[in-house]
Subunit: 397 residues, 2 copies
């Protein structure tokens, strides 16, 4: 990765080193663009408000020599692992202290990095707060909040169905497949240039989705379910998603920086994957989950909601998920890595991860710009590396 | 204007109330978009750094009943004037104190507002610093810094030529004329959708401009001259314009908020008119000029440069400028309103203005979203209103 040609350097950058709307999020351009989404797309800010920054005391430990057995059966150091997995930022918070905070590839503590589907877990957190406040009923039909959805496959689904990605709506999310719905969806969201006959707004597009099975079946990962959640939240509150995230989370966790979402041509924030924030602020969001919904001495998210995100039904965690993550599940827009230990993950394509490990009292965030959407070997090694870090910290604790 | 239909309200907003890339900066959409440029276009941040905010003490005076004689010979109050000229923000700083700070049309103290060609005066300020630091020679040919310009009409022009808009390059800046260069230029800058055969980057476009007269003739207002300045500054320093503005101005004047520029598809900031900042931060920039280049107790801009911006040659201030502004001139990207008093203006279409009045020890900023590019009656009344405010403050002083 160190040999990747430098993207967007020079005034102007050579044409071949300029990402376009056709390729900005793909390699090699994503090495630059994931830290510069605002320079590529329209965006909307998520204010941190005017409150205090949560200081996150640091007690630096050199973990670079921590080793683990990688997928290829070789022994890897953390240092080598981070270098070879296109890492942009890596932070470990243990018992409330930053023990490692590393930046690569020009990233800095004030760089907002795209986190792709990590946004889903953030949106769900706000949703949990709104449910607790009585503004949303998770068992009510979605049409109570967004009547237009009656025209779509979501017509008889509930908020709970989409929170757990168990609606019966058809949406093919095969990344990189030109015929998949997710590829067309990139045109809808503004991540690709507009095309004739394709809706230029997420909400217009959601109305076109049909039903292919009964709601309430097995878990099936579909990004659009999160966008439905966002829509319901906006309609129930008459507030923009950015305002909701700011008001309920970003202004209350001691975030150090304003964050932002990408927006489509109707101004709709991409709830399922358009969020950008600094490494430390992602860690602060992870700590909110680790600490049962508390931040800066206040209960921000209902404890019951946070706990429920660590509990899921492996019986509905069908293939391929159950093979990729034995002992895992999915609950309320969080990946449960280990049901027994309550380890959960917010995950995004191209190597974005927040790892929350309550028994180890640890949050890890890794932001990356992988050369492929999904890289099973990188994921495997990432999880092994983090488990090795947890063991190392535990042995010192 | 209070009857203007609300733009971008609702989830999603009705299609007829959504600005598109074809019309976002035009009425009625500009009432919303000038405060939300980031939601429409790609942008790049201008950091305020981590230094202290210049507090700007407030001593509120009610100036709403200050009157002046308007162009139609009627007597207007300031209050009525502000309401009828599509004002979004209005601030008066007198002897270092905010005496009036008003927001309309949903604008708030933290809203970044597009200031159109006000950017020119900001870019010039940075240029003056770089000249003083010896990084730029105003008399050297532009090709010393940007060799490619040899291919264009700028091949034998100097930095001084473009600073005073006296190059011989042909560029027709008739706003709203579909055949004018400025209209095509909106496609180049990304303010309009891309078109086949039109460069998608400002710098590529500048190379296509021919010469129509000798350099050094009368002043002729052409936005592209500022983009040339930006290019030269970036090449001379190997830094992006946003970095330069941050480093030399925005991080040193006690700005309260990050600002931003719109960027084209090559990441180039629109030096001639893509800048967005809060009302108070524009006032802080105005105070920098009023205070001979000093801010927070430090000399930020060379005093000689600031003073030179108040001195111009009326003999080269040809028509129509000399008719519109008798006793005026243009110097180093500033409009000189009154050569005798040294009153200067940074101005932008659709009603953007920073007014710097040294004898009155006053800075006024008015941010607006007029329904037309240029509105002579609104300009006339604005200047009369500000002069009346200066008299009122002077009589109290």
């Amino acid at each position: 990765m160190s040999t990747t040609p430098r993207i967007m350097q020079g005034f102007p950058p050579p044409a071949a080193r300029r990402p376009t709307l056709e390729n900005w999020d793909l390699p090699p351009y994503n090495r630059w663009s994931f830290q510069n989404v605002r320079r590529v797309l329209p965006t909307a800010p998520v204010s941190r408000g005017a409150g205090p920054v949560d200081a996150l005391p640091a007690e630096n430990l050199d973990l670079s020599d921590v080793t683990f057995v990688a997928m290829d059966n070789s022994t890897r150091t953390l240092e080598r692992f981070l270098a070879e997995t296109y890492t942009d930022g890596f932070i470990v918070v243990h018992r409330g202290r930053i023990v490692t905070e590393l930046y690569f590839n020009d990233m800095t503590p004030s760089t907002e990095h795209l986190s792709q589907s990590v946004a889903k877990s953030l949106v769900s957190t706000v949703c949990g707060i709104l449910i607790h406040d009585g503004l949303l009923d998770p068992n009510a039909p979605l049409t109570r909040y967004v009547p237009e959805l009656a025209r779509s496959g979501y017509g008889d689904a509930t908020l709970n169905h989409v929170l757990d990605m168990r609606s019966g709506v058809r949406f093919n999310e095969t990344y990189g497949d030109p015929d998949a719905d997710i590829t067309l969806f990139d045109t809808v969201t503004g991540w690709r240039p507009p095309r004739d006959g394709v809706p230029q707004s997420v909400y217009d597009y959601l109305l076109t989705l049909p039903k292919e099975r009964e709601h309430g079946g097995d878990f099936k990962y579909r990004s659009v379910e999160t966008d439905v959640i966002g829509w319901v939240m906006e309609r129930a509150t008459d507030r923009h998603l950015c305002d909701l995230v700011s008001r309920h989370v970003w202004s209350r966790i001691g975030a150090g920086h304003e964050a932002y979402f990408t927006v489509d041509r109707a101004g709709t924030a991409l709830a399922d994957g358009g969020f950008n924030a600094t490494l430390r602020d992602y860690a602060r969001f992870g700590l909110l989950q680790l600490n049962d919904g508390r931040a800066l001495g206040q209960q921000i998210v209902p404890r019951d909601w946070v706990r429920a995100c660590r509990v899921g039904d492996p019986g509905i965690f069908g293939e391929p998920y159950s093979i990729l993550t034995p002992g895992g599940a999915y609950s309320k827009q969080w990946w449960i890595r280990d049901l027994e230990k309550g380890i959960i993950q917010a995950r995004g394509i191209f190597g974005q991860l927040i790892w929350i490990d309550p028994p180890a009292e640890m949050v890890v965030v890794k932001l990356s710009s992988w050369p492929e959407y999904l890289m099973p070997e990188f994921s495997y090694n990432t999880y092994r590396a983090i488990e090795a870090v947890a063991r190392e910290l535990g042995s010192k604790g």
